[in-house]
């Protein structure tokens, strides 16, 4: 992967979280906010249905960026994201990215997570060490 240049696309990833993914993410993360796991509660506060945890989608963005360095957990040094749209379970999430700059062993990648036209995470900037 050391041959990446500015402007190159990273491999990215595509995941369709199943209906119960938010429950498993709630358990794994400790975030049991009912808007993620209780459809009645979500609708009562004006949402169309339960929504994905933003930090779960950020986890997928982190995964796609670390994959550039072979999935080495030490490679991801910084990740900054903006949450812009709500994510829905049972809908495909595509994470894509473009190399912004390469400086020695550090590359900066601009990443987007989207469900169709709905960009749930935008302006995600990752700093990844490549060896």
């Amino acid at each position: 992967m050391a041959d990446l240049n500015a402007g190159d696309a990273i491999p990215g990833l595509s995941v369709t979280p199943d209906k119960y993914l938010p429950h498993r993410y709630a358990g794994a993360s400790g975030d049991f906010n009912p808007i993620h796991i209780d459809p009645e509660f979500a609708k009562a506060v004006g949402l169309p249905n339960t929504i994905l945890h933003g930090l779960y989608m950020m986890g997928l963005v982190a995964r796609a960026n670390a994959a550039v360095a072979g999935g080495d957990p030490r490679a991801l040094k910084r990740l900054s994201v903006q949450f812009r749209g709500m994510g829905a379970p049972e809908t495909e999430i595509a994470v894509s990215g473009t190399v912004k700059s390469v400086d020695g062993g550090t590359i900066v990648i601009d990443t987007v997570a989207a469900q169709g036209d709905n960009q749930t995470i935008r302006n995600a900037e990752a700093e990844v060490l490549i060896g």
């Binding site: 995941v15 993914l21 498993r24 993410y25 358990g27 794994a28 993360s29 400790g30 975030d31 506060v45 933003g54 930090l55 779960y56 950020m58 986890g59 997928l60 982190a62 995964r63 670390a66 999935g71 080495d72 957990p73 030490r74 991801l76 040094k77 910084r78 990740l79 900054s80 994201v81 903006q82 949450f83």
Partner: protein, 146 residues
């Protein structure tokens, strides 16, 4: 109505979290990570880690508890009914491994109003048992109609 800013600079008591092997595996599986350094002690040690290593974003598991008291502090006065998680940044240092005891402190960095929305920015800093910084988090919550 305007946002209250007296909590800017306020810090809250530290929380401590002991990282466990099975908790790392549970998180890694949900995210779909398959690197064995997150599951297998021997593989992790061979790769140069003290023990099974957490994925970077596992930091939410050990750092978020320190943020709770900050977010619910009446001096901060966030309206949760109109709040969304607007932005998030993490900067990682020393990796977090099973058996680590991680202490996190939280601080209110900024509160300001822009385009009728309130922005509440908090910082968490997490250090391990050796005093090495594991992660620094910047959490931005946005409240509509302040």
């Amino acid at each position: 109505m305007t946002v209250k800013t007296e909590a800017v600079g306020k810090e809250w008591p530290a929380t401590t979290y002991e990282v466990g092997k099975e908790k790392i595996g549970e998180y890694a599986r949900v995210i779909g990570l398959d690197n064995p350094v997150h599951f297998d002690r021997e593989v992790a040690k061979t790769a140069g880690y003290r023990d099974v290593v957490a994925p970077p974003m596992f930091c939410v598991v050990y750092s978020a508890p320190a943020l709770g008291p900050a977010m619910f502090d009446p001096e901060v006065g966030m309206n949760f009914a109109a709040m969304v998680h607007g932005a998030q940044e993490f900067e990682w240092g020393e990796p977090a491994c099973s058996g680590d005891e991680i202490t996190t402190t939280s601080k209110c960095l900024e509160i300001f109003e822009k385009d009728g929305k309130g922005f509440y920015v908090f910082e968490t800093r997490s250090v391990n048992q050796d005093g090495a910084e594991v992660v620094k988090g910047t959490w931005t919550n946005i409240v509509r109609g302040v």
